[in-house]
């Protein structure tokens, strides 16, 4: 992907990411989240990580977004009533987030490798599903099985939590 496409997609991701936080309507927030993740998937593609980009679209824009919208509509969340804004908490949160951002800029600014361009790849990564798959089933076989158990536990947990009567 050409380099000049980096900033449009980065800007798209950040603007819609901010829209998730700013919007008062939960449905608008969920849809902004999807656009933000699509921009992120484009950035993954620009880093020659095609598999991760596709997975991002499938899992987030597909599954997670549907789950969020389903819950929002199940709970029938409307636009929030304007409550009295807790200014102390809001200002405190904004100040802490700003301090974190300044810290990140400072650290990246002092990081020597950060100012160098990416070294060129000598082989195409268009078949990176094959490469990731063979690494996943050889070197990372145990973590892969652990993650399978985690998904099973999450499934059982969701079924138990969704029962009508919790004891």
């Amino acid at each position: 992907m050409p380099a000049y496409l980096f900033w449009p997609f980065a800007l798209l991701m950040l603007v819609f990411g901010a829209a998730v936080v700013i919007n008062r309507n939960p449905v608008a927030s969920a849809l902004s989240l999807v656009v933000s993740f699509l921009g992120l998937a484009a950035l993954f593609m620009s880093l020659d990580a095609y598999f991760v980009g596709i997975i991002q679209v499938l899992v987030y824009a597909g599954a997670v977004m549907v789950l969020f919208l389903f819950i929002i509509m199940l709970l029938d969340l409307r636009v929030e009533k304007l409550r009295k804004i807790n200014w102390v908490a809001t200002t405190g949160g904004a100040v802490v987030a700003l301090a974190l951002l300044i810290q990140i800029f400072y650290v990246v600014g002092n990081f020597k490798a950060a100012s160098q361009p990416f070294p060129p790849l000598t082989r195409s990564t268009i078949d990176d599903v094959h490469n990731i798959g063979s690494l996943l089933f050889s070197s990372y076989n145990l973590p892969f099985q652990v993650i399978g158990v985690l998904v099973l536990v999450a499934t059982i947990g969701v079924v138990v939590l969704s029962k009508r009567e919790l004891r």
Partner: protein, 106 residues
């Protein structure tokens, strides 16, 4: 020319947006969405480092991308469990506003 630092800065900005969302917003569903933003910001920096560390064979370092794969799996499981907890909470208290949920036992 786009450098590694640009990706890290964009990732840091996305993380900050998610962090501010968790700190400022009071709707528990939005807080969960902001958590997703933070997880994905971490994924972006991992993939940027994967591309930066080109292996001797001329391919990126795939270990970071496998790590991203695991993070996406964990995030999906986390969303499922988190939303189930929100539904259970909503049945009990009819609210998704964190300031209405301030006692451990009721």
């Amino acid at each position: 020319m786009v450098t590694l630092g640009d990706y890290l800065l964009v990732s840091g900005m996305l993380f900050t947006i998610g962090f501010a969302g968790v700190m400022v917003r009071r709707n528990i569903v939005i807080i969960l969405m902001s958590l997703e933003l933070m997880l994905n910001a971490a994924n972006l920096s991992l993939v940027a480092f994967s591309r930066y560390h080109v292996q001797p064979g001329g391919l990126p370092n795939y270990s970071a991308q496998i790590f991203v794969f695991f993070i996406i799996t964990v995030a999906a499981a986390e969303v499922a469990v988190g939303l189930a907890i929100i539904v259970a909470l909503y049945r009990a208290r009819q609210t998704t506003h964190v300031e209405d949920i301030n006692s451990l036992k009721f």
